[in-house]
Amino acid sequence: MTVQTDWNGLAEAEFRAILRAFIAEKCPANLRYYPYRFPAATTKVWYEALHEAGMIAPGWPVEYGGMGLTPARHLVFIEEMEAGGTPFLHDSGVRNLGPALIAWGTEAQKQHYLPAMHSGAHIWCQGYSEPSAGSDLASLSCSGRFEGDRLIINGQKIWTTSATEANHMFALVRTDTSGPKQEGITFVLVDMSLPGLTVRPIDNLSGHSDFCEVFFDDVSVGADAVVSAPNEGWKVARAQLGFERIWAGSPKRAVKTLAQVRRLMAARGLLEAPGWGERLAQATFDTLDAQDLYARFADLVGTGGTLGVEVSALKIWSTATFQSLSEMLIDAAEDEGGIAGDLDADGQPLDVLAPYYESRAPAIFAGTNEIHRNILARSVLGLPKSG
């Protein structure tokens, strides 16, 4: 690791310039500008470059090897990574678990886990949802039973993103059924190589296996794998969301799909075809407006404001825009819109169905858009509780 830089102390322009130069030098061109997540092995070179430069954990405090960025600086970091088209990583550990561990973990947990997720040795997945606990997460039933200094886990998780790539899981398990459902939930760290743990990939519409079912059959972990205290897991999971929520509303994928639409329309001579110009104009408005909305929340964070539940509006708009652009791409392909795989768009390959498939999950995961509407109705609009 190089000498620690005072990233927040740099002028913003200089900070951006450093990031751009770094991306240009270290991020392989063949990994850039893809809307999909590659396997961990493919992106390992970039993950390790970030790790070695001390840039894999922009939001962590410096003492744990993070960049210690202020929220505003963190957003600049994200902007530059997105502008440079750097690939999605299997960095759920760094992004989601790390801050929770730093806040709630024991010193021993921090010592053991943080360096390994920083280096990429540990790849983490998140075990929250269950077959009967989707939108209603708090009703989860995957059970944890304490026996001496062991916690024995039985049950099932589902929709676990990248479980086949991960070797560790942070999970919520039910350790007490006697009280209200938000209580009695424990946040636990699981080594996925333990006996009794089975992963079954689930094919999604595009034929990929982004998410999995994970089965626990008497999986035994030490009680020292519990974060915070037993039955206190709901608190940890909620706090973990915090800053990350703005991610779910990033217009990044809408922006990429709009670029594909424009490219295809140009290739097919549709830019001046009747009706298409206005449709492209509206799609461009919807996307640029999403960026303005994103910037509004980013500014809010940047100026030290708190990111309230209003950010759900961003998630709803960005995911809906991504979806409608994905259908516009199919429409712009006209007779070829129903054909799978890469089409030719003026010499460049273009898979017009992929964004349709890819744009479904964002409106469902991280809270369905319907759940986010409930939140906005109650918490922002002050409407009465519905029956």
């Binding site: 259908e327 006209e334 498939y357």
Partner: protein, 378 residues
């Protein structure tokens, strides 16, 4: 063409529903993806045995010479089990031949499922509305050179029915799929069924019709009818997706109650239902009218209206069903995916909504004379 009466329609509907239910096998549908010819050979045989191929062959060739009304019933019945192919290709080609006045000898082997006729008339995106040909020519000795695209059913084709230019005339010719100089290339549609390009290099042919008017008229009618058959298939997928989604809403429990008890989801389901009912109300009489016979300009306008409504409803229901299903809706193993992918494949075949709408818009602009209070269709 012969219309079917109401009693026959009821019987046919019952027979095809029974057949489709008995042969429903989602696992088989999935396993056949990205394989040719896109259906089980035994399925073509079954269609023949049921008499559903002979149904569209001319009476002179010992068929029943039925038309779009019968085809719509068969398609709607087969679609829930994903068993339409290759009946759609068969119908499009056979109707073209019948419309072009092809001799009965040209239908040999059709009714028995021995020879699958497949129409190859498109050459580039968007030309479905103009049955012309720019790239394919027929020489004096009847040899065809050129290429066709968006050919559905190509992989199982016994004979290609091909449009070509001979001098200034648009002709219709029949080329054996196995003849010298015929090559095909396969792409896969969203549902894993094949769609092909066909290239002809001095391929021998039999001329079916050699004057532009006959060919234009025959293809125009057959494509309009096939569009209604696609619409009928879309109707079946709309109904299937709606049934699955409503069942999910009734049974999936979250927050202590079926999610269908949440009023916001109820109203969204109702808005889908309104479109479903609208689609049905548009489709059925259109099939009847076209089966009765219509003047080509009005017929094409009606067909475009039907296709737009069915395309748009199918895409809306697909999109909303996925969302209402939640995470399960984006899995391959949920049978909803079979219908969603079929909808993605179908809504771009024989004209997208955008193309049909543009066609209709042109007709509105060109036929705009004077308006009275009463009038909405010029």
């Amino acid at each position: 063409m012969n219309r079917i009466d109401d009693d026959t329609a009821v019987m046919l509907r019952e027979a095809v529903d029974k057949h489709a239910r008995r042969n429903m096998d989602p696992g088989l549908v999935r396993s056949r993806r990205s394989t040719t010819p896109g259906y089980a050979p035994s399925h073509l045989q079954a269609l023949a045995e049921q008499g559903w191929l002979a149904a569209f062959v001319p009476e002179a060739a010992d068929g029943m010479e039925l038309g779009v009304d019968a085809a719509a019933i068969l398609t709607e019945g087969l679609a829930p089990s994903l068993l339409v192919a290759p009946l759609d290709s068969f119908f499009l080609a056979t109707r073209t031949l019948v419309g072009a006045g092809a001799g009965s000898d040209l239908f040999a082997g059709f009714a028995e499922g021995e020879t699958l006729p497949v129409l190859a008339f498109q050459e580039r995106p968007g030309d479905v509305f103009a049955p012309q040909t720019a790239q394919t020519v027929c020489d004096a000795s009847g040899r065809i050179t050129g290429g066709k695209a968006f050919v559905v059913g190509h992989a199982g084709a016994g004979r290609f029915i091909v449009t070509a230019k001979r001098g200034a005339a648009l002709i219709l010719a029949m080329v054996e799929a196995g003849a010298q100089g015929v090559e095909t290339e396969t792409q896969w549609r969203a549902d894993g069924t094949p769609i092909g390009q066909v290239r002809f290099d001095n391929a021998p042919s039999v001329i079916v019709a050699d004057d532009t008017a006959t060919v234009t008229q025959a293809i125009g009618l057959a494509v309009d009818e096939a569009n209604l058959v696609v619409a009928a298939e879309l109707m079946a997928h709309i109904d299937a997706m709606m049934a699955m989604t409503l069942e999910h809403l009734r049974t999936r429990v979250q927050f202590g109650k079926p999610i269908g008890a949440f009023q916001a989801l109820q109203h969204r389901a109702v808005d889908l239902y309104v479109r479903q009912l609208l689609s049905r109300s548009v489709l059925d009489p259109a099939v009847g009218q076209v089966a009765e016979g219509m003047e080509p300009f009005e017929r094409s306008r009606l067909v475009s209206r039907v296709r737009c409504r069915l395309n748009d409803t199918a895409r809306l229901v697909a999109r909303e069903s996925i969302q209402l299903f939640g995470a399960m809706g984006i899995t391959e193993e949920c049978d909803l995916s079979l219908h969603v992918k079929r909808v993605l494949a179908l809504t771009t075949w024989l004209g997208t909504s955008g193309q049909h709408r543009a066609q209709f818009a042109q007709s509105l602009a060109s036929s705009n004379q004077n308006f009275s209070h009463e009038e909405i269709m010029p």
